[in-house]
Amino acid sequence: MAEQEQAEPIEEEDEELPAWSLPLDAVGGIALEDPLAGPIDREWAIGGATGKSVKVCVLDSGVDPGHPRVGSVAGAVAIRLDEDGKAIAVPDEEGDLCGHGTACAGVIREIAPDAEIYSVRVLGSGFTGSGDVLVAGLHWAVEQGYDVVNMSLSTTKRRLGEALHELADSAYFKRTVLVASAHNMPVESFPWRFSSVISVGSHEEHDPLRFYANPSPPVEFFARGVDVNVAWTGGTTIRATGNSFATPCISGIAALILSKHPQLTPFQLKSVLYQISSNVGGQR
């Protein structure tokens, strides 16, 4: 992926033409290997995995690249709206304006030490239009073809909900896994409710690899999100609580799975997550 040296407008993409039907003589040409053959357990899914070669995007407040819990950041852009209100991506020189993105990146690094972490900053360039910047940032991330996008944030704007829904579906078919924080307040927010994303809430245990499948969605998985020791600005660490910190646990685990099984679609990945959940077939 080429690092962006200057502001680059975020363009509408040209979709590759999908197959709308399956003629009889084409059937022989679509034989697929079964990526889920054999017993699906934790050893099969993540045993020995490090997240190597998996591109994980942190869509957040930026990432402090020098933080010892984060290590190297493979690329960082900030999304802004130009004078005409058009979204652009510029190289991010500012790092993290809050600490939150660094925290998420640190959690991902903890679980998937060899994953390639990219930062797409969608916060900090003014409050007005922040929802549009969020949508543009996700658009950018999907366009780049990241394997996993961590979204520990949401918007309550219904107008943006529709755009996010389309982007989430687009990501799903392009094999970009969106992992989104569930809202723990009684409000309508997006994109975590969409079935094409993986939504995450918190449990109170300490093990970052312990996670549960929720029998009562829309929250689909619960991961470590309470009293978590996380990276913060200025090279520090803090203790933090919130679904924000449970989400990168699942992003990290998704990176582990994809580093062993890169052919998995988001649908298959979610099935594997379910299969190895601590309350289903997991050993933790």
């Binding site: 916060l123 900090g124 200025g234």
Partner: protein, 215 residues
């Protein structure tokens, strides 16, 4: 609903809404109770000023209550800015250094919190501000029940703030020389009438309404 209808509805509602001062007391009560519930050193409500893109301290209980009300800082940075922009609650503790979240507190009060709970104040799809609870006792690890309680409490505060915003909009509309102020002036004059003059006034207004609707 368009803005004009919203203004009219707000203007009508103003008749039953209490004064700004009472809402100020309500906000103060909310931060007092939030502070008491969590046994915290301080609690505050910050409101978004959309014109300047700043968060403004609207009510403070405990540390900083004398200095902070009215203070402003950018709405898109720091922990409060993140909570507002991302619509997501956040709890951080054991802050050791680089307390960016506490800069505004520290500059004005010399008080640097070691931890804070921050939750967005959401009125339907609009983010109105942030409720913060600073330095709860470190007696135990934070629990999901506390997080839920914080969220519920913020929901209540957001309802109060939504009412306050309606009242402020209504007051602004009634105080100007625009359409709404003209209608309110007529309504006020009618309300002051009694007996046959009131009936005649009402009849006149109904006729006027019919004329206005004809085109």
């Amino acid at each position: 609903m368009n803005d004009r209808t919203d203004e009219l509805r707000s203007a009508v509602a103003a008749g039953v809404l209490a004064a700004d001062e009472q809402f100020g007391r309500l906000l103060r009560s909310i931060v007092d109770v939030a502070r008491a519930i969590f046994g915290a050193k301080a609690s505050s409500i910050m409101l978004l000023d959309p014109d300047t893109e700043e968060l403004v301290f609207a009510a403070v209980s405990g540390e900083g209550e004398r200095e902070l009300v009215g203070r402003r800082f950018p709405a898109s940075t720091g922990v409060a800015g993140w909570v507002l922009s991302s619509r997501t609650p956040l709890v951080i503790e054991d802050v050791q250094s680089d307390p960016r979240h506490a800069r505004d507190f520290a500059e004005d009060t010399g008080y640097v919190p070691k931890g804070l709970m921050a939750v967005p104040l959401l009125d339907e799809e609009n983010a109105l501000g942030v409720l913060q609870v600073l330095d709860r006792p470190q007696r135990s690890r934070f629990s999901l029940q506390e997080m839920e309680l914080l969220g519920l409490f913020a929901g209540q505060a957001a309802i109060a703030l939504g009412l306050l915003r309606s009242a402020q909009r209504a007051r602004a509309a009634l105080g100007g020389d625009g359409d709404v102020a003209a209608v309110a002036g007529v309504a006020s004059a009618l309300d002051a009438l009694e007996g046959s003059r009131r009936a005649a006034g009402l009849s006149l207004l109904r006729d006027l309404e019919q004329v206005l609707r004809q085109n």
